[in-house]
Symmetry: C2
Subunit: 349 residues, 2 copies
Amino acid sequence: MNSELIGDKVILSGEGASELYNIGYYGRPRGDTLELSLTEASYLFEREKINICLNQNSLDFEEFFKISSIRMENFELKYLVYKDLKERGYYVQPSSTDFRLYPRGIRPGEAPAEYFVHVISERKPLSLTELTFFMETAENVRKGILLAVVDEESEITFYVVKRMMMKGGMNPVDNFKGSGTLLEDRVVIFDSKLAKSLYNNGFFGKLLEGRLQLSLVESAYLLKKKIIKIVDRSGNLLSLKKFTGTATKIEPTFRMKLNIYEDMRNNRMVVKTGFKFGSHFRVYKEIESMKSHLPHSEYLVHTIPDDHVFLLPEMSRAIRLAQSVRKQMIFAYIKDKKAQYIDIGRAKP
Amino acid sequence: MNSELIGDKVILSGEGASELYNIGYYGRPRGDTLELSLTEASYLFEREKINICLNQNSLDFEEFFKISSIRMENFELKYLVYKDLKERGYYVQPSSTDFRLYPRGIRPGEAPAEYFVHVISERKPLSLTELTFFMETAENVRKGILLAVVDEESEITFYVVKRMMMKGGMNPVDNFKGSGTLLEDRVVIFDSKLAKSLYNNGFFGKLLEGRLQLSLVESAYLLKKKIIKIVDRSGNLLSLKKFTGTATKIEPTFRMKLNIYEDMRNNRMVVKTGFKFGSHFRVYKEIESMKSHLPHSEYLVHTIPDDHVFLLPEMSRAIRLAQSVRKQMIFAYIKDKKAQYIDIGRAKP
């Protein structure tokens, strides 16, 4: 078998080349020859299945590795991920994204690939635009997205990215009426009957000795639904516009948070602050009763602007934390006036 | 007992006032009268121990609460924290910081207060300058720092902040020599003997089929210690200056990370990437042997610039995650050319 490095491909010819393809699904047949990508060739070279020549002179692995690193962007990272997936027994093929990954135990041809794999350095920021482009491309051909993030010490973390529908089973709350007072940065309902009703039926706010302390998003939501009126400390009525204006001064991301809060509440979920988990919200599909303790919340939801850029160490931290408290990490944003939810979770392929 | 709201104090006189002081340590005696802060007065009012008049007209609790919220910045938050600590059975007194907290079971006068309590809204950024000022003030009078962070739904999370010494028990590594190649954003040592020595004795990098992949900070450290030389892909020798220049282009925070990495390595600790936990480093005091798996790392260390401003939800996430994997969260920075470490941990007073 002859193998020659030409550009960013290794071209195999002679006996054995077709065997590599027929048995291992390496490379793409081109007439009588087989064309390997640099990652495939490195893998076979390191396993001593092939030798590689450049201008008919044999290369050693170190030489080949350095040349590959010059000829292919991100070569080291791609090779790490390719090798890792191969060693777990998967069939992996180069694709327009970095790789196509087949389901466990499935050979190319038996069934379609399951994931598009994107290899990313932890140092490279990832924009939401780029991520949704990945998702749309994959959705069009019914594949999933697997991000393979390589950290600076060459460890790989895999993430599955998918869209989420957020739906819960709560009944809407609308049969209570009353008013609250905006203090510095929260609204207090002093009427203890209303306070208890909102808390017990809608799970709004925090009850303190019969008073209800509402967050700004909760207050704006109830105001918009005409369930409560809000006055300032001097007793002046605040319009929704005035209230959201004040709230935005207190919290610059207020409107973004409110849009997502509202969408999830309208979809019958219970939405509470996620501060202790470093996210905007923790979300429950349904809460039967507030008599006992709150049940386990299923999601952490963090709102992001539609031009958000993910820093991967930060994303890693958020997802790792969500997982450690058995929640799904959801990133939410508004696109064309509609709320969108993306579920990013660690995967162990 | 008469009690009159004057400015941001409530002045008690008559029978019962001295009893409040002698038994509960509320207020500060001023001649025949007792002066309460608004938080103390609210607490006693809500528990129906006192009534409060304004211009000799009785106030109801709601009126008093609203007026207090106008007269004292952060009143609602301070009251939430005061009430919480009182209900846990602590003695708490107003102080130049928000409160002084006495050790459990200790009355004022029996022993000094243990903590200065600072009440902060989760929305308020906290600068490192401010935090170190808090710490220095407290250290001068041998007190600790307790941050009481109130989230938007009025839940309180307490954090204890203290300085840390970072010291480990590893032997220095210096008897190996060789060279590595800088590829795109990591250094590879192809010499498998050197690779194994560095990995097994210093726990540097990641071993892959006899090659060692080093991170940029690891490489710079070994280069500075003259343990390795580094060449580029064309074989040109890179000076330390040239290498750190290139590394800084790849990773803007490189120098900051390297300074802290170096300090901890020089203090005989084992420092590895903390990417999976969203921090710069995970740190081991000592590793006996790499033969088996790495043991549990004790710390997560995140480096910050000396003008860093903490966003509390982000800080909350980092600390919560560290705790969920049984590690201490340490923030590290360089001040006057010296590495400084701050341990911030959740407390349950």
